[in-house]
C-alpha cells in the first residue's frame, strides 16, 4: 500500500499548490488586493463581515508567510469565506449545493461514455479496417474535435428549441418540491438527460480511440496468437485475452479525462442553465464574486484529486504487480 500512500501525499501537495495560486493571485495584481477581492460588494458589506472575510483570506497584519499560513489554516478548517453575490451564504454552501448536481451529471456521463467508448473501441480494433472501424474512428475524430460548448449549443438548439422534446433549463420542474417522489425524480431525469447525452457525445469518442489503439497494439502479442492457436472462441480471445489487458492503460487515461469531464460539464451546465457548479461559476464571473471563483478552483481540484485516487485504487486492483510494489 506504499504506492497509494505516496499518491495521497502527492495529491495533498497538489491541493496546497492550488491554494497557493489562490493566495498569490490577488496579491500579484496591481492595486490593493483587499480592494480587488471584495470590490464587487461595494458599500453593502457590513464592516464586521468584511473584517471576517479579510481574516479568512489571510489579509492580516504581519509578514507574508503569516498571511499564507492564516489562509491555509482557514481552508483546511473548511472555511472558504462568504459569497458576495449570495451574501451572507458561505461559499461552501453555495458550491456544495451545486456540486451535487455536477457530480451526478458528470458521474453518469463518465460511466456511460466509458462503457460505451470502451466497447466500441474493442469492436473497432477487433475488426480493424472494416466499415465499422472506419465509422467509429472517423466519428470519434469528429466528436472529440468539436468544442463542448459547440456540441451543447447545437444539441440545445435542435432538441430543446426546435423540436421541443426536452426542457432547456433547470434540473427539475421548478413547480415541484424536491422530494423522493416518482414525479420529482422523473422530472430530474427528464431535465438531466439532454446535458448528460451532450457530455457523452463529447467524451465517448476519446475513450473509443484510446481503447482501439491499445487493443491494436496488443493484438500482435504472442499470447493472443497462442490463445487463437489453442482454438479458443473469438469472443473469449477478444474479451478475456486482449480487452482485459488493453483496459489497463485506458483506466489511467480515465484519470486524465476527468479534467476534460469537469471542463465539459462547466460549459454544458451554462448552456443548459443547469444549476451545477458551472452555472454558479458563470454567475460568479459575471458578478466578479471572487470568493466563489476561488472556492470553485479548490472544490474542483479536490473533486479531481478524489477521482484520481479512485482510479489509483482501481488500478491497484486491476494490476497485481502494483500490490507487491
Amino acid at each position: 500500500m506504499a504506492f497509494l500512500l505516496r499518491r495521497l501525499c502527492f495529491y495533498l501537495a497538489a491541493f496546497v499548490a492550488a491554494a497557493t495560486i489562490n493566495f498569490f493571485l490577488p496579491r500579484l495584481m496591481p492595486g490593493d488586493p483587499v480592494q480587488i477581492m471584495f470590490s464587487s460588494a461595494g458599500a453593502e458589506l457590513p464592516p464586521e463581515s468584511l473584517q471576517a472575510l479579510k481574516l479568512t483570506f489571510g489579509f492580516v497584519d504581519g509578514p507574508l508567510w503569516q498571511q499564507y499560513l492564516t489562509y491555509l489554516g482557514s481552508i483546511f478548517s473548511g472555511d472558504l469565506g462568504r459569497s458576495i453575490k449570495y451574501f451572507p451564504l458561505p461559499v461552501t454552501t453555495v458550491l456544495g449545493n451545486a456540486l451535487v448536481w455536477t457530480v451526478g451529471l458528470m458521474g453518469t456521463a463518465t460511466i456511460v461514455s466509458f462503457a460505451l467508448g470502451t466497447f466500441l473501441g474493442i469492436l473497432a480494433a477487433w475488426r480493424r479496417g472494416s466499415l465499422f472501424d472506419v465509422i467509429v474512428s472517423v466519428g470519434a475524430i469528429f466528436a472529440t474535435s468539436v468544442p463542448a460548448v459547440v456540441t451543447s449549443l447545437i444539441v440545445v438548439f435542435t432538441f430543446g428549441f426546435t423540436l421541443g422534446w426536452f426542457p432547456t433549463g433547470y434540473s427539475a420542474d421548478p413547480a415541484l418540491d424536491p422530494a423522493f417522489t416518482f414525479e420529482y425524480l422523473g422530472s430530474v431525469l427528464y431535465h438531466g438527460i439532454l446535458p448528460m447525452l451532450t457530455l457523452c457525445a463529447v467524451l465517448t469518442g476519446g475513450f473509443a480511440v484510446t481503447m482501439r489503439n491499445n487493443m491494436i497494439n496488443l493484438l500482435g502479442e504472442d499470447y493472443i496468437v497462442m490463445a487463437r492457436a489453442k482454438g479458443l472462441s473469438d469472443t473469449r480471445v477478444m474479451l478475456w485475452y486482449a480487452a482485459r489487458n488493453a483496459l489497463l492503460p485506458t483506466v489511467s487515461s480515465l484519470a486524465i479525462a476527468i479534467g476534460t469531464v469537469l471542463g465539459g460539464s462547466l460549459v454544458t451546465e451554462v448552456v443548459f442553465n443547469y444549476p451545477g457548479l458551472g452555472n454558479i461559476l458563470y454567475q460568479a464571473i459575471l458578478a466578479r464574486d471572487y470568493p466563489v471563483i476561488q472556492g470553485q478552483l479548490l472544490i474542483m481540484t479536490a473533486t479531481m484529486l478524489i477521482a484520481n485516487f479512485v482510479v489509483d485504487v482501481s488500478y491497484v486492483l486491476l494490476d497485481p504487480r502494483l500490490k507487491r510494489a
Partner: protein, 296 residues
Amino acid sequence: MKTSSFPLIHNRKAMVGALIVAFILAVAIAAPLLTSYDPSARVGRPHQAPSLEHWLGTTRIGQDVFARLVYGARTSLAVGFGAGLLITIVGTALGIIAGYRGGKIDEIISFFTNMVLVVPNLPLLLVLAAFIGQASPWVIALILGCTSWAWGARVTRAETLSVKQKDYVKSAEMMGEPRWRIMTFEIFPNLISIVGINFIGSVIFAIITQATLEFLGLGDPKVVSWGTMLYAAQKASALSVGAWWDILTPCFALAFLGIGLSLLNFAVDEIANPRLRTGNRLGRWSALIRSGEGRL
C-alpha cells in the same frame, strides 16, 4: 503500402484536414476582400435573418455576422497557433531535459508536470482570467502557454527515455558532444512526430479553450473572435428569440476548424505509428481475408 518521403500527401485524412485548415486560413487572410462591412460597426437592423444584403444575418445590435465570422477567424487562428507554439516549446524543452538529464532534474520537472496535470485546467484558467479582468486574446494565449504544457512534457519525456538508449546518442556522448547539442541535434529530430502531434493537439486545445473562456464572459467583448461571437449571441438569448444564425455561425466555424485540425493530427499519429492505420479499405479486404483478421 507504398513508402514515400512525403507520407502526408498520400494520407487522405491529412489531405482533407490540411485543405480545411488552409481554407480557413485563406478566409482569415482575405477577410477585407470578402466583406465590405466593418465587423464591429452597426450596419443593419437588429437580428435580421440571412439575406442577400447580410449573408449570415445580423447580431442583436445590428452587426454583420458574416463580417464578424471572417474577421473573427483571424483572432481564433492567431491565438490558436500562437498559444499552440508556446505550449509545444515549453512542453518539448522540459520533456527532453527531464528525459535526457535524469536524476534530480528529472524528479523536479516530473513532479511539477504531474502536479499541473492533476489540477483541473479550465477552473484554473477561469480563476486566472477572472483576476486579469477582460483578457485580450494575447493574454489568453500567454496564460494558456504557461498552464497547458504538462501533457506534452510527459509524452516527450517518455519518448526521450527510449531515444537516449539508441546507439547514435551513445556515440555522440563518447565523442564528447556537449549536452545541449545532443538534446537539440540528436534527440529532438527523432521526436519530431511526437512534437508534431503535440503541436496540433495544443492548437486545437488553445482554440477550444479560448472560445470557452470568451463564451463564459472572461474575454474582451470588444475583440472580434469566434468566442466573443458566442458570448454576445448567448447573452442576447439568440436561441430563444429564434436568431439561430447568430449563434450557429460561430458554432459551425469552430466545429469545422476543430475537425480539420484533428484529421491532420490523426494522420500524423498514424504515420508515426503504422499499426493504427485503417488504410485503404478496398485494398485491405483481401489482406483481411488472408490473415483471418477482423472475423467476429
